[in-house]
C-alpha cells in the first residue's frame, strides 16, 4: 500500500494530496479526506504554536497507518501534520485514505484522526489576542474516548 507521512512547517494542498491517491489507478473506488483547521475561538486566539517530537511524530503516525492497514483493505494513505506557528483559518492536519469502497475509507480516516489526537506527539500552545487566554491546550477526555473506540473494535474488513 502507498503511504505518505509528512511532518512539516509548510502548508499543503489538500486537493492535490487527495487526488494523488487516485491518480493513474483503476482499483480505487473511494478517497475520504479530512482537513483540520486552526479556529480563532471567538476572536480570542491569535495563533497556535505547535510543538512536536521530531522523529517520534513520524514514527507514531506510521504505526497508526500500519494499524489501519491491518484493519481495513486500504489502497493508499496520506497523513500530513504541520508544526510551528499557525494562524486562525490555516490548515493544521490532513488525512486521506483510498480504498475500493467508501466504508473502509471513511472508517480508516476517522481512526487515523482519533489516533493523531491522542497518540501523535504534538502539543498546542495558544497565543492569545491578550495574555489572559494563553497557555497549553489540555487533552480532552472526549478524544481519549474516541480513540478507545478503535481498541475494542473487531479487526478486519
Amino acid at each position: 500500500m502507498m503511504a505518505t507521512v509528512r511532518v512539516q512547517r509548510d502548508d499543503f494542498d489538500p486537493g492535490a494530496e487527495a487526488e494523488g491517491l487516485a491518480r493513474g489507478r483503476k482499483d480505487v473506488g473511494a478517497v475520504a479526506s479530512f482537513v483540520g483547521y486552526c479556529r480563532d475561538e471567538g476572536g480570542r486566539l491569535a495563533a497556535l504554536e505547535l510543538e512536536h517530537y521530531a522523529g517520534m511524530a513520524e514514527e507514531e503516525i506510521a504505526r497508526a497507518v500500519g494499524e489501519a492497514e491491518g484493519r481495513w483493505p486500504l489502497l493508499g494513505v496520506a497523513v500530513i501534520h504541520r508544526y510551528g506557528r499557525i494562524a486562525p483559518g490555516e490548515r493544521i492536519v490532513f488525512v486521506a485514505v483510498a480504498a475500493a469502497h467508501r466504508g473502509a475509507a471513511f472508517a480508516a480516516a476517522e481512526m487515523l484522526m482519533d489516533y493523531l489526537k491522542t497518540r501523535a506527539p504534538f502539543w498546542k500552545l495558544v497565543i492569545g489576542v491578550d495574555g489572559a487566554f494563553e497557555g497549553w491546550v489540555e487533552a480532552k477526555a472526549d478524544d481519549d474516548r474516541s480513540a478507545a473506540r478503535w481498541s475494542d473494535a473487531v479487526s478486519g474488513p
Binding site: L50, Y53, M56, E60, V93, A120, W123, L125, D143
Partner: protein, 83 residues
C-alpha cells in the same frame, strides 16, 4: 541516556534535553520520574502529578512500569494535543 522534555514539562524543567546517568536502582520509567523529581524545584514541579506526564522510550510510548535498561532516549511530555 538522553532525556527530552516537551511542552510544559520542558518549561518547568527549564531545558529541552540533557544527558542523564541514573543509578542502577532506577529501573523503570516511574523510578526515573521519582529520581528526577528530587533533582530540583523545576523537576519537582514538572512531575508533581506523575499521572499527568507521559513518557516514551526510544520514541515509543511507555508506561510508568516500563523498564529503562538499554534505552538510549527517554522523553517526558504532557498528554498529546495534536490533530
Amino acid at each position: 541516556m538522553k532525556a527530552l522534555y516537551f511542552a510544559w514539562v520542558r518549561e518547568r524543567v527549564g531545558k529541552a534535553e540533557e544527558e542523564l546517568d541514573p543509578p542502577a536502582t532506577v529501573a523503570t520509567v516511574g523510578d526515573l520520574i521519582a529520581w528526577l523529581s528530587r533533582r530540583g524545584e523545576g523537576y519537582a514541579h514538572a512531575f508533581d502529578k506523575p499521572l499527568a506526564v507521559r513518557a516514551a522510550l526510544d520514541r515509543v510510548h511507555a508506561r510508568s512500569d516500563a523498564l529503562i535498561a538499554g534505552a538510549k532516549e527517554v522523553a517526558f511530555f504532557p498528554p498529546m494535543t495534536g490533530g
